[in-house]
């Protein structure tokens, strides 16, 4: 562990925090929020369906997938907003392109700057906190990429840091001490060397700050053993350490269920739901849940007709917002499933994803949404803050 004393805490514990959970691959809307009363549902889904008796009914129209028990409970407690029919016009049905659009808010042109990077810049324009944004997992998601925006990408909170492959600890500390000296501003000259020096020291500082998180963490909550559970546990540790991190990102992949959807989709939602429950239970036990909203999205929903074993790429999907700051309920309309209303066999989204972002940015994070999402969008009011 590369600790160098306690970090400075520059934020209030009540500052709003957003956790974005990306369901990679294209989550099937129809089998996540099942329109069980819709007679067309079984016509479209003769094989890849959720049996009516298994659906976790929310009302006389819709219900959750049976793996989503924990989320149903939170919904009943009024802490889950179901955001119906979210997407954008002319969905390309491409994983890559769709994900890009969600990340950059640029459905027309190729964007290079992430919407969350813009949030981070607004929160911390002077880059005073190098861990304002933390991405859990090895990838640097485009949503978090922006010029000069520091992001900690943490694959594993317990081994995060510079040169952490070095063992034993004595050796690591010895090498890092030397590293610090070699990165000192006194050495080298010129803009590029200065920038590299500052970046190296920032990286060390971020690692030091984050290293304190698991060390100070204790909890009675035992997270279920899944990759998404591990990531959320890491986020809980950082959040509970009060390091001023305001934006967290993680993904869970495998939702591209062209085949074997029934078993796969059930497993994925079981992992996700359980992990989310563990996460909020953990925060609640530490009295630190009030300022956290989690937002779940996927790059697109899936084709209305099943293909016999799974479903293919579609358009409109469903998002969820979870947390005490959320005004529970349903927002927007479930898109019409009438065959004549489908677009190339897909649900037509009735809500632009940037509307949802607008609510999150303005009502939850308290920032100007227009510069973040690139325009004025009507916002559904699913935040109580």
């Amino acid at each position: 562990m590369q600790t160098t004393g306690s970090p400075e805490i520059t934020t209030k514990s009540s500052d709003p925090v957003i956790v974005v959970l990306q369901l990679s691959g294209g989550n099937d809307y129809l089998n996540t929020v099942v329109p069980h009363a819709d007679p067309l549902y079984k016509d479209y889904r003769p094989i890849v369906n959720v049996a009516d008796e298994d659906v976790l009914h929310l009302d006389d129209q819709i219900g959750f997938h049976p793996s989503m028990g924990p989320i149903q409970k939170m919904y009943q407690d009024g802490n889950v907003a179901i955001l119906h029919g979210v997407g954008y016009e002319n969905s390309p049905r491409s994983h890559f392109r769709s994900m890009d659009i969600w990340h950059t808010c640029e459905p027309e042109t190729l964007g290079t700057e992430g919407w969350l990077a813009r949030i981070v810049r607004d929160i911390d324009p002077n880059k005073e906190n190098v861990v304002t944004a933390v991405s859990m997992g090895p990838s640097l998601f485009r949503a978090l990429v922006g010029p000069g925006v520091p992001v900690a990408t943490v694959e594993n909170i317990n081994s995060y840091g510079m040169l952490t492959g070095l063992t034993p600890e004595e050796k690591l500390n010895r090498v890092l001490t030397r590293y610090r000296r070699m990165y000192s501003p006194a050495i080298g000259s010129g803009k590029v060397m200065d920038y590299l020096g500052q970046t190296g020291l920032d990286a060390l500082k971020g690692a030091d700050i984050l290293a304190a998180a698991p060390a100070n963490y204790t909890s009675d909550v035992e997270y279920a053993d899944s990759s998404v559970g591990k990531k959320l546990k890491g986020i809980a540790q950082i959040h509970l350490a009060g390091l001023g991190s305001r934006v967290f990102y993680l993904d869970h992949s495998g939702f591209d269920t062209h085949a074997d959807q029934i078993a796969t989709h059930a497993r994925l939602w079981s992992e996700v739901s359980t992990a989310i429950q563990d996460f909020f239970d953990d925060l609640e036990a530490h009295n630190a849940a009030d300022n956290v909203v989690m937002f779940l999205f996927s790059e697109f929903g899936r084709r209305v007709y099943d293909n016999g074993a799974g479903t293919d790429h579609g358009a409109g999907g469903v998002c969820l917002a979870i947390g005490k700051g959320v005004k529970g309920g349903q927002y927007g309309e479930y898109p019409s499933t009438k065959t004549s209303d489908l677009d190339q066999g897909d649900l037509v989204p009735g809500t632009d994803f940037r509307s949802i972002y607008t609510t999150l940015v303005e009502d939850w994070m308290g920032l100007d949404p227009i510069s973040v999402v690139g325009g004025n969008f009507e916002k559904p009011e699913f935040i109580t803050r």
């Binding site: 640097l140 590293y179 590029v192």
Partner: protein
């Protein structure tokens, strides 16, 4: 063999390849600098990579399609193992210049076809490359030329052809963009649908004469019923085109320039060198091999040691070629391909048609950490033949901390570092030596660990980020 020859050869191999082991550098110094340049420019003289070897292990990579995030793994394996390093480096150059990505094209296959074309034709005429690109289904779709019709012009391809691939902004008018785009109407692709149920067919170029605007066009001072090829000929006759391509070559092979969008307002760091490359291009009718030979044998190239920040591909491939035991396609190969992505360069999926911002913009706190950890782990893996060879060479150099540090710096580059950094390393080696010496003044056996630790510090140096 003089130190200077070795340093120069190392420089050449970093730029015209991905770096080389000391054994390879010594062998090449024996061959001679100019002869090595000639070899690099004649990839057919090298034993080619047997791509079927890769496909035997990973048959899905024959057509990676929409495979999530790993479609570039086959190319990565080639870069790790090729003997014709300049050929692959040039593919990387063109991929950065004609940046095309699965974010829109959706399918790796057509972009891989583009890379294959760069591999096959990259050292030839730039006009050939432009014509191939103008016929590339991936590019036509990427820049919407399939939506460019005689009756409704879509200017995306026409504009980028001028702005990014040939002349650079401020050298043409909006009318030129329009007229250029008109000349490419009807240049489209077939089989763009269906995508669903039955997968997707390979795309092919298709010319639709009924959708081509064959009318008169006024383009860059010329008037005629131009089609796409004639437009390209007119573009290539512009001195601005030669200068623009020259600056690209300079920025990629010689020394980092500002980002491309700044070029119209920021002069080159070395205008004489760029002009010399441009003159060479004009004289050779844009023969890229000729221009590369001119660059690699020029004084301005030889004087530009460590004037570039390594891109992520150079970091990963360079490290792997140094440590060795990388030939067999394996899950490690896949991991290395992912490592490049995680360092900020998702090959075959650049962030936009402008390609990646390069130079110092590769570095942020996250990517710097990944770069450092990646190389530090491999350089201390004593199971790898390249590492053993480095350790042997350093062991043979003598016992004093100074000798050890200098030998490490020598065999890792030779690297040039700030004198203060060298002193820090010597201090570190001295401290370790004292620790390794027992009370009787006898030396402990652990000098390999000392060397290993110094090597890890060296790859963590700021100076190590440069090529």
């Amino acid at each position: 063999m003089s130190d200077n020859d070795l340093k120069l050869m190392a420089h050449l191999m970093r730029r015209a390849g991905f770096g080389a082991s000391r054994d390879e550098l010594e062998r090449r110094v024996e061959t001679g600098y100019d002869q090595t340049v000639d070899e690099l420019l004649n990839p057919d003289s090298q034993t080619p990579v047997d791509y079927y070897e890769f496909l035997r292990y990973y048959p899905l990579w024959w057509k990676p399609g929409t495979m999530g995030g790993l479609g570039h793994a086959g190319w990565v394996w080639r870069m790790i193992n090729t003997q014709a390093t300049l050929q692959e480096k040039l593919c990387l150059f063109y991929h950065q210049l004609f940046a095309t990505g699965v974010a829109k094209v959706d399918h790796y296959d057509e972009i891989e076809d583009m890379i294959d074309m760069f591999r096959e034709k990259g050292m030839g005429s730039y006009k050939t490359i432009l014509m191939e690109i103008a016929h590339s289904p991936a590019m036509l779709f990427w820049l919407d030329n399939h939506e460019n019709h005689a009756t409704s012009v879509n200017e995306n391809w026409g504009r980028e052809l001028l702005e990014l691939f040939t002349m650079g902004v401020s050298n043409y008018t909006e009318t030129d963009v329009r007229e250029c785009s008109r000349a490419f109407t009807g240049w489209t692709l077939s089989h763009k649908l269906p995508r669903f149920h039955m997968g997707r067919w390979d795309w092919e170029f298709e010319y639709r004469p009924e959708d081509h605007d064959a009318g008169e066009k006024q383009f860059l001072g010329h008037t005629g019923n131009f089609d796409g090829e004639e437009i390209i000929d007119i573009i290539l006759a512009q001195p601005a085109t030669a200068t623009f391509i020259a600056r690209h070559l300079y920025s990629f092979f010689v020394a980092d320039e500002p980002q491309v969008p700044a070029w119209s307002v920021t002069p080159p760091n070395n205008p004489e060198a760029v002009q010399a490359i441009a003159d060479n291009l004009m004289a050779s009718d844009y023969h890229i091999g000729t221009a590369l030979k001119f660059i690699l044998t020029s004084d301005f190239f030889k004087e530009s040691v460590f004037a570039k920040v390594k891109n992520p591909t150079e970091v990963v491939i360079g490290t792997l070629r140094l440590v060795g035991n990388t030939e067999r396609p394996s899950p490690e190969t896949m991991q290395w391909a992912t490592d490049i992505t995680n360092m900020g360069q998702d090959l075959l999926n650049p962030p936009s048609v402008e390609g990646w911002h390069s130079g110092i913009e590769w570095i942020n706190s996250g990517t710097l950490m990944k770069r450092t950890n990646f190389t530090a782990e491999l350089i201390s893996d004593r199971s790898r033949p390249g590492v053993t060879s480095i350790l042997d060479r350093v062991m043979a150099a003598g016992n004093s901390p100074e000798a050890l540090v200098d030998a490490c710096l020598d065999v890792m580059g030779p690297l040039e570092i700030a004198p203060e950094s060298r002193l820090e390393l010597i201090e570190h080696a001295t401290a370790l030596a004292n620790e390794n010496t027992n009370g009787n003044g006898a030396k402990n056996t652990d000098s390999i660990s000392t060397i290993s630790e110094i090597l890890q510090l060296i790859v963590s140096l700021r100076e190590f980020q440069f090529a």
